[in-house]
């Protein structure tokens, strides 16, 4: 198997999907000749032409709205929102339209679109090139949200998302694009949307995460295993919505402790739902308070590296939080 980074995985998966299925199209700002500001669509324009690789005007609401219409018309559109921070004008089309179409039509219409969204901080992008937006969409039944951060997960879930009959927000952590490398499965490789992935088995506590902080958790868990003999079970949610409560609850029933980590800010984040679920369904198994580690509750990530570091959760903090909870 080839080793690729996350960005290559996105691009190659799009290339494969478009090559195989005429219905797949991509649209967004600069996705055409430019190949995307992160190069995620590089080569598609040359290979598949301007009917299927569409440079849209600078107008996010219409990017999603056009994708919805194209899906009605039988295409399988993959829309790119250039940065997660610019998805907000499209919230109406995503929440009130895409996510409600099947329900409101009593199943007569569906909305098989994918919205690719580069997100996340740690890239000196400041307030508007760093945001995590999962909480914004997390209370939206009808929508699916996936956030894979290994090349294999990216491939398997992006293919699944393209063929999913419902709208999928596909979150790509910008910091993972080049930093995270791994095996890239050849050919048809589809992962189900829904199930979380136990990326590391353990017995002492459960760490639930996704995105870049999941990688921090994995690394910290390895270190703590070596250094302290602490065995953390690390669950990568991968799919945020619908949430795989079962895997989480089962794990906590085994370990008795839960730490949730995410880069999104604390209040109202996905971590709250994970914690609330466990505080209900695994209450009798809990040996310690449920801990959450997340970004500070400030409006967004500041630009200067010193402020940025102070705002985002770090690997060191994740390690410390695991250690502290393990010792509780």
């Amino acid at each position: 198997m080839a080793v690729k980074n996350v960005l290559e995985a996105v691009r190659d998966t799009l290339f494969e999907a478009m090559g195989r299925d005429q219905r797949v199209m991509v649209l967004g700002e600069d996705v055409g000749r430019h190949g995307g500001v992160f190069n995620a669509t590089q080569g598609l324009y040359e290979a598949f032409g301007e009917d299927r690789v569409v440079d849209t005007p600078l107008a996010e609401s219409s990017i999603v709205g056009i994708a919805i219409g194209a899906a009605f018309g039988g295409l399988l559109p993959v829309a790119e929102i250039q940065f997660a921070d610019f998805i907000h004008p499209a919230v109406d089309q995503i929440i009130n339209e895409a996510a409600k179409i099947r329900y409101r039509s009593n199943g007569d219409f569906g909305c098989p679109i994918v919205i690719r969204v580069p997100y996340g901080g740690g890239v000196h992008g400041g307030l508007y090139h760093s945001q995590s937006v999962e909480a914004l969409f997390f209370s939206t039944p009808g929508l699916k949200i996936v956030a894979p951060t290994t090349p294999a997960d990216v491939k398997g879930l992006l293919l699944a998302a393209i063929y999913d009959p419902d709208p999928v927000i596909f979150l790509e952590h910008k910091a993972s694009y080049r930093a995270i490398k791994g095996e890239y499965p050849e050919g048809e490789f589809v992962l189900p949307i829904g199930p979380a992935d136990v990326k590391r088995a353990g017995t002492d506590l459960t760490v639930v995460s996704y995105g870049m902080t999941m990688h921090y958790a994995l690394q910290a868990a390895e270190e703590l295993s070596r250094e302290e003999g602490i065995e953390a079970e690390v669950i990568d949610l991968r799919t945020l919505l619908p949430l795989d409560r079962r895997t989480i609850v089962d794990s906590v029933k085994k370990t008795g402790k839960l730490l949730v980590v995410h880069e999104d800010n604390l209040t109202g984040g996905v971590g709250a739902e994970v914690a609330a679920t466990v505080a209900d369904e695994a209450f009798m198994y809990l040996d310690a308070p449920i801990r959450r580690l997340a970004a500070l509750d400030v409006p967004s990530t500041p630009y200067h590296p010193a402020l940025e570091r102070a705002m985002l959760p770090s690997k060191a903090q994740v390690k410390e939080a695991i250690l502290e909870l393990a010792r509780y």
């Binding site: 056009i66 018309g73 089309q93 009593n106 098989p112 999913d164 009959p165």
Partner: protein, 351 residues
């Protein structure tokens, strides 16, 4: 209703220069259109009565818009063209082939309501069979959908066009701009059909628009903008048909504005006396498209007073019966409330 004498046909022949023949509309077309207009009117009147009787909690009517609606719909080919109507377009969906009974199920929100199984408010039609796209309530959101549909038709080389309607207030919204802009850039086969009734609920057109006509906005999108008397069936038909032909010919989108008026309140929750004078309403009622069209039909001998009354009575009977029937149909089963949040099974096949 069948015609009983050949008389009017003769009369019509003598009037070869009449506008409808110039437009290629047959006698049957005219009568069918007239009946649909009258049925639309009767349907909405019945819906309002049902509301007043407390049998349904809400309704919204298209009173006054029927001429524009039926004329526009006449230019469309059901099953070929995608249609994205808005909540006043009872005349459109009737003309396309939704039945009075289907629509009545929607008024009551019954389980068999084809649009939504009782999940949407009345008048939010959707019907895959007729390529009528499921409607939300937030306005303007359907305009980019129309562009996406047109894109799909274009790249898949499918014959047909996309017709999307909306009110004058909608022209204020960002989605209107983004959609017309995209359609203009790519010369998409879309007919943007604005039913300008000069009010967005209470807000008069002058507070929505810095320009006197919605069609004045078309130039900014590199497309023709045509403003017509929306109570004149033939003007609307002509403008819409030309727009459809342009679209079919690959010449791109058109913005058609049908200037009309809503005779009733905004919805059953509204009291329009708070913001419109009775005089103003009365003046517009004189331009009511139904008697006006009837007058034309009479002039060319296609209709007489008796037939006019019969058509009306028939329509009223049909909607009354449909209402009684629909009322007796099963309500949605509460056990289905969580169905259709997600597809029951994948993978996607274009729906």
């Amino acid at each position: 209703m069948k015609r009983t004498t050949g008389e009017p046909l003769k009369k019509q022949a003598a009037l070869g220069e009449r506008i409808h023949t110039r437009l290629g509309l047959s006698d049957d077309d005219l009568l069918q259109m007239y009946r649909t207009m009258v049925t639309a009117r009767a349907f909405d009147e019945r819906a309002f009565i049902l509301f007043t009787q407390g049998k349904i909690p809400f309704t919204v009517t298209g009173h006054g818009h029927e001429g524009a609606q039926v004329a526009a719909a006449k230019c469309l080919t059901p099953g070929r063209d995608w249609v994205l109507p808005y909540y006043r377009d009872v005349g459109v969906v009737l003309a396309l082939g939704m039945t009075v009974r289907e629509l009545m199920l929607g008024e009551f929100g019954k389980a068999a309501d084809p649009s939504s199984g009782g999940r949407q408010m009345p008048k939010h039609w959707g019907c895959r069979r007729l390529k009528i796209v499921t409607q939300s309530s937030p306005v303007a959101t359907q305009l980019p959908h129309a562009c996406g549909l047109a894109w799909a038709m274009k790249v898949r080389n499918e014959e047909g066009i996309v017709w999307v309607s909306f009110g004058d207030g909608v022209a204020s919204k960002g989605d209107f701009h983004e959609a017309l802009n995209f359609a203009g850039i790519h010369k998409l086969p879309v007919v943007f059909f604005c039913e300008n009734n000069y009010y967005a609920i209470s807000v008069p057109f002058s507070k929505q628009s810095p320009v006197p006509r919605v069609a004045d906005r078309a130039a900014a999108y590199g497309m023709p903008g045509i403003s017509v008397d929306g109570n004149d069936v033939f003007e609307v038909y002509k403008a819409t048909r030309e727009a459809v032909q342009r679209a079919l010919a690959g010449e791109g989108p058109t913005l058609v504005e049908a200037r009309t008026y809503r005779f009733g309140p905004h919805t059953s929750n509204d009291d329009d006396r708070r913001y419109r004078s009775r005089d103003e309403v009365a003046q517009w009622k004189e331009k009511d498209p139904i008697p006006r069209f009837a007058a034309y039909l009479k002039e060319i001998g296609l209709l007489d007073d008796q037939e006019e009354a019969a058509i009306k009575a028939e329509a009223e009977k049909e909607v009354r019966e449909a209402a009684a029937w629909a009322e007796s149909q099963p309500d949605p089963d509460p056990a289905t409330v969580a169905a259709h949040v997600y597809a029951e099974r994948g993978p996607a096949h274009g729906r």
